[in-house]
């Protein structure tokens, strides 16, 4: 196994493109090292991107913020502006693992590990986040929902990696939230996750919404029907119950060691409803 720590994106793309066998990007390493340890994965090349300038930066851009690929959950959580604009995204990222994991784990890593249960992904989707993908060709911007295509699989091509994630400026009177269910209070992988974002007009009617579910399908599920159910309403109790129903119906989970199908279907609705209620509160300010 080879370990490389290039100091430019160009150099990183270079080694990745030339590499034979399996190569992996190392940012926080909280998934990578576990996979290596278990023997699940024996990469021939590891490219540590933390020496590349900008990877640790959180920079404002067109009213939004660009988060570098190596920014840890802890650092993100300590950024007052980001926390104020996207509390749901920050909370979702902060749910990933323990304090120790937070010291290393990155949002980009959580996205590119392509786990169906990744906590930050539903929240990033509902926040309308866009990934900056760099590679042999010129950099492209990809909506986060298009990165993961199946468990452990991404749409990234050989030589490509995600250099940063852009969180667009939230609209006025908008709010978002992410909730997940785990058996314990900490340290577990999400059994179900639900992210909701919504925007209200001056009259308190919902004009725009996004709903995404985690851990109930091979990848995060964007539930447009649920969003549609919110739009045009004041997000009253009846609407929330309808939202729950739609989300439960949209969930396509499996039985596994972490939860049953029936449980995930029911709880997907419950969490979506609860997340929407929090988002509503936040939108009202």
């Amino acid at each position: 196994m080879r370990y490389e720590a290039p100091d430019t994106i160009k150099a990183a793309v270079g080694v990745l493109s030339k590499a034979r066998g399996t190569s992996r990007i190392l940012a926080g390493g909280t998934d990578l090292l576990v996979q290596m340890r278990s023997g699940m994965l024996e990469p021939d090349l590891i490219v540590d991107i933390k020496k590349i300038p900008g990877m640790f930066d959180i920079t404002s851009e067109k009213g939004g913020y660009r988060i570098g690929a190596a920014v840890s959950g802890a650092e993100l959580g300590e950024h007052p502006k980001v926390r104020k604009f996207w509390p749901g995204v920050v909370e979702a990222v902060e749910l990933i693992g323990s304090t120790q994991i937070q010291g290393r784990a990155t949002m980009v890593g959580n996205l590119c590990n392509a786990s169906p249960a990744a906590d930050s992904v539903p929240a990033l989707i509902t926040a309308g986040a866009v990934a900056r993908v760099v590679g042999p060709k010129r950099a492209r911007n990809v909506p986060v929902e298009e990165i993961a295509i199946a468990p452990g699989k991404t749409s990234l091509k050989k030589g490509e990696f995600v250099a940063s994630i852009f969180l667009p400026k939230p609209k006025a009177r908008s709010g978002e939230a992410y909730l997940r269910f785990i058996p314990r209070t900490e340290m577990d992988i999400a059994v179900v996750g639900a992210g909701v974002s919504l925007t209200l007009n001056a009259k308190g009617k919902c004009t725009d919404a996004r709903v995404a579910l985690g851990a109930v399908g091979p990848r995060a599920i964007v539930v447009d029907k649920a969003a549609a159910a919110l739009i045009g309403t004041t997000v009253d109790k009846a609407t929330l119950d309808k939202l729950a129903e739609i989300c439960s119906a949209a969930a396509k989970p499996i039985d596994d060691k972490r939860g049953t199908k029936a449980f995930r279907i029911k709880v997907a609705g419950v969490l979506a409803r609860r997340a929407a209620a929090i988002a509503l509160k936040r939108a009202k300010g």
Partner: protein
């Protein structure tokens, strides 16, 4: 103590005992200096690794190690061929540490390598080619009992007829039906029965009868330190081992037997031990490390990975149980019946007998019967886990007691008080109890503020009591007086929870000196006589008893020296407050001699002064406990929150109250994990699906509240200071206490553990559906 007829006078006041000083090994443990199993190095040390079966049940057709042996850096490769059966060795243990003709569970060791480093060792394992013939497997206890289940051991036979009648419907899916008569190969390794009276008659007298079937999953002790050992066998056959174990004398004797060594040629030193809870009372990698070292001619260190710990050490049994209790309107129990079926993994020896003996031990029953089945399955051989067998049995029994209190509209503590075992009660397992403290724990629990807190919506309160025997066993200690009057105490029982502090306290108390003047060490197998394992909550009792008597022996010698110095008869000298004093006026008028002065004069008065005591300690008094817990259930998700938790337990005498409370709290939280989230999950392929702390979910800090404790002290007449073991009883009530609380909160009886949220939510929806139609 055998042959000791002196009446035991238990002091009522203590100077040192009962205080809470800092433990002697404390500073090393907060600074990272303490050396645990994996922390030891040896010159030229090799890394040992074990190859494990990926199959739950498979015949081992052939093992080709040639490629691994040829790999540069590999110094030894072994299989069962290198560990031939020795005269009189325990074949089950030998077969468990290295599979012979069959792999009996996922994770069963089939070969091992020693190499210059971990990378080479890992590579070598990949080069070993094992040719398996996969066989049908069974991991569920009820499935394994079926007459047509896949058979693990041809030599285990059982006569089915009678059981199927007796436990009709217990062998699920197999109602009474005709079977070939006589013994036939089976996974039922034993059938045990305890009890007395006439249960038919008893149930006939009952006004209310409660009956339920229960299941519990296997759980792991979950000690944070994986098994580790460093073995070094030299060419002349002398061997040394450094190992984290609850019993280094056991490790020495068992390994010597398995490998055909003279016991005297193997010296074992116990490292600091990072948790055991029963899981380190047997051997796994130790004989393998010795065999590798013998073959390689170099020291070999084996450290298990966490995955190996889960797949290949000894979790406890899973259980399938049926309990029936009858009571009169006034709450008096008229009869109790239980059938317990425990699978103990791939070899006989599940703790079902102890579970059967503990099941109804809390109650004074005229008519009681307990039947236990020991069943083998394709799972790792179970090892002891804190009060082995008792928690599951208590879960089933206390759940029924809880339901009786509801049906009879009686307070949960009152109904237990009404039937509580006390001095003179004929226990459900036979013997008559001496002085015991169950009633006292129930009264203290009822008086505690937690029992009076008003509960909110979706909240429930659970109560449960529990029992554990506590053991004594072989113990040998030496107390050496140093030239400056300080003392070195050598015990042979590994310190798994602060026992060195308790030993110092007892020695200091007996000699009337300061706690800091005594230093306790856990001596290696070459320095002391045989000591049984640190198990059965026996250490503070047994090593404490031996320590106190060694101190008395020491005092006697000190008095002799003083008598010599004063030129008066030995009987005329008494020991008080750390000084030898003339006993009364007519003994003569001499300045008392302090222990320091006598130590300084030792060489001139006959040489070193040391106290010794050797015993097979008896008279360990049982410890009873009562737990009260409040939980809240989220009716929409089945999530459960423990709001407050109370442990009340009889310690006989708390030597170091901090560590007594620590045992109470630790046991309670292990129990909370067992009832809420911990379980061995097997796939259809018979492989363990959750061999790690991510999905084997032990409680984390944010899962639990503070654990309130009340120490009850009903002295144990079998110990000089009245000590009872406390380590194990604390894990007996929690399963039932939490289950009763959750049942109360959601209004449905929880009968399967763990009560993970999916199960709780399913139960709630079931209830609503029922209410709907």
């Amino acid at each position: 103590m055998p042959l000791d007829t002196k009446p035991n006078v238990i002091p009522t006041t203590f100077k040192t005992v009962g205080t809470r000083p800092v433990r002697p090994d404390g500073v090393d443990k907060v600074t990272g200096r303490a050396r645990f199993g994996a922390d030891m190095q040896a010159p030229g040390m090799l890394v040992g690794r074990v190859l494990r079966s990926p199959h739950a049940h498979a015949r081992i057709v052939k093992i080709d190690t040639s490629k691994a042996e040829a790999l540069p850096g590999v110094k030894a490769v072994i299989t069962s061929k290198d560990m031939p059966a020795q005269e009189g060795c325990d074949m089950d243990v030998l077969t468990n540490v290295m599979a012979r003709d069959k792999a009996l569970y996922d994770g069963h060791a089939v070969a091992a390598v020693a190499a210059v480093d971990a990378a080479v060792a890992r590579k070598a394992l990949k080069l070993i080619k094992v040719d398996y013939k996969v066989l049908p497997h069974v991991t569920d206890v009820d499935e394994a009992m079926k007459p047509d289940a896949p058979i693990l051991h041809a030599h285990i036979e059982h006569e089915y007829q009678q059981d199927l009648l007796e436990t009709a419907g217990h062998v699920k899916g197999k109602k009474e039906r005709t079977l070939p008569k006589g013994k036939r190969p089976s996974n039922i390794a034993g059938r045990y029965e305890f009890g007395h009276g006439d249960i038919k008659k008893g149930f006939a007298e009952a006004d209310v009868i409660v009956e339920h079937e229960f299941t519990t999953e296997a759980t792991h002790q979950g000690y944070i330190e994986p098994h580790a050992c460093l073995a070094s066998v030299s060419s002349d056959g002398w061997a040394e081992m450094w190992v984290c174990t609850q019993g280094h004398f056991m490790v020495r004797d068992v390994c010597a037997k398995l490998l055909g060594l003279d016991v005297s040629r193997l010296r074992v030193t116990a490292s600091e031990i990072g948790g055991g809870f029963g899981g380190k009372t047997t051997v796994f990698i130790e004989p393998v490390a010795l065999a590798l070292s013998r073959k390689a001619g170099k020291p070999v260190k084996i450290v298990m990975s966490r995955e190996e710990v889960f797949r290949a050490t000894g979790p406890t049994s899973s259980a399938s149980m049926k309990v029936k209790i009858g009571a009169k309107r006034d709450g008096t129990f008229t009869a109790a019946d239980a059938i317990l079926k425990f699978q103990g993994g791939a070899f006989p020896g599940s703790p079902v007998e102890m579970g059967a003996m503990c099941a109804f031990a809390c109650y004074d029953l005229r008519n009681v019967r307990i039947i236990g089945y020991d069943v083998v399955t394709n799972r790792p051989k179970q090892a002891a886990y804190r009060a082995p067998g008792a928690p599951m049995a208590a879960f089933a029994v206390e759940a029924c007691v809880g339901e009786l209190s509801e049906k009879l509209k009686m307070d949960a503590i009152d109904i237990r008080l009404k039937n509580a075992a006390k001095e003179g009660t004929v226990s459900s397992y036979g013997p008559t109890f001496g002085p015991v403290g169950l009633v006292e724990t129930l009264q203290a629990a009822k008086a505690h503020k937690n029992y009076k807190v008003k509960l909110g919506p979706n909240q429930g309160r659970g109560v449960a009591s529990g029992f554990w025997f506590n053991f004594g066993g072989q113990t040998c200690t030496t107390l050496n007086l140093n030239s400056d009057g300080t003392l070195g105490l050598a015990v042979g029982t590994p310190d798994i929870g602060g026992s060195r502090a308790s030993m110092c306290l007892m020695a200091a108390e007996e000699l009337g000196i300061a706690y800091d003047d005594v230093r306790t060490i856990v001596a290696d197998t070459g320095s002391l006589g045989y000591n049984d394992i640190s198990e059965g909550s026996r250490v503070t009792f047994s090593s404490g008893l031996a320590t106190i008597n060694a101190a008395r022996d020491c005092k006697k010698k000190l008095c002799q020296r003083a008598a010599m110095i004063w030129g008066i008869p030995e009987e005329a000298v008494e020991w008080k407050d750390g000084h030898a004093r003339p006993a009364g006026a007519n003994a003569g008028n001499f300045e008392p001699l302090s222990i320091k002065e006598l130590a300084a004069k030792a060489s001139g008065t006959g040489g070193p002064i040391a106290g010794h005591f050797e015993v097979n300690a008896d008279g360990a008094g049982p410890s009873f406990a009562t737990h009260v817990v409040d939980v809240e259930v989220d009716p929409e998700t089945g999530a459960m929150k423990v709001l407050r938790y109370l442990v009340v337990q009889d310690a006989g005498k708390a030597i170091h109250p901090d560590y007594v409370e620590g045992q109470f709290q630790g046991g309670a939280v292990q129990g909370i994990g067992w009832v809420l989230n911990e379980e061995y999950i097997y796939g259809a392929d018979g492989r363990l699906q959750n061999p790690g702390f991510l999905d084997y979910r032990i409680p984390v800090c944010s899962d639990v509240p503070m654990i309130d404790t009340v120490i009850v002290e009903v002295p144990n007449p079998g110990h000089p200071y009245g000590v009872r073991g406390v380590g194990e009883t604390s894990i007996v009530p929690p399963l039932a206490a939490v289950a009763n609380a959750v049942s109360a909160a959601m209004g449905v009886r929880a009968t399967t553990l763990p009560m993970s949220p999916p199960k709780v939510l399913a139960a709630l929806e079931n209830k609503m559906r029922k209410a709907a139609d």
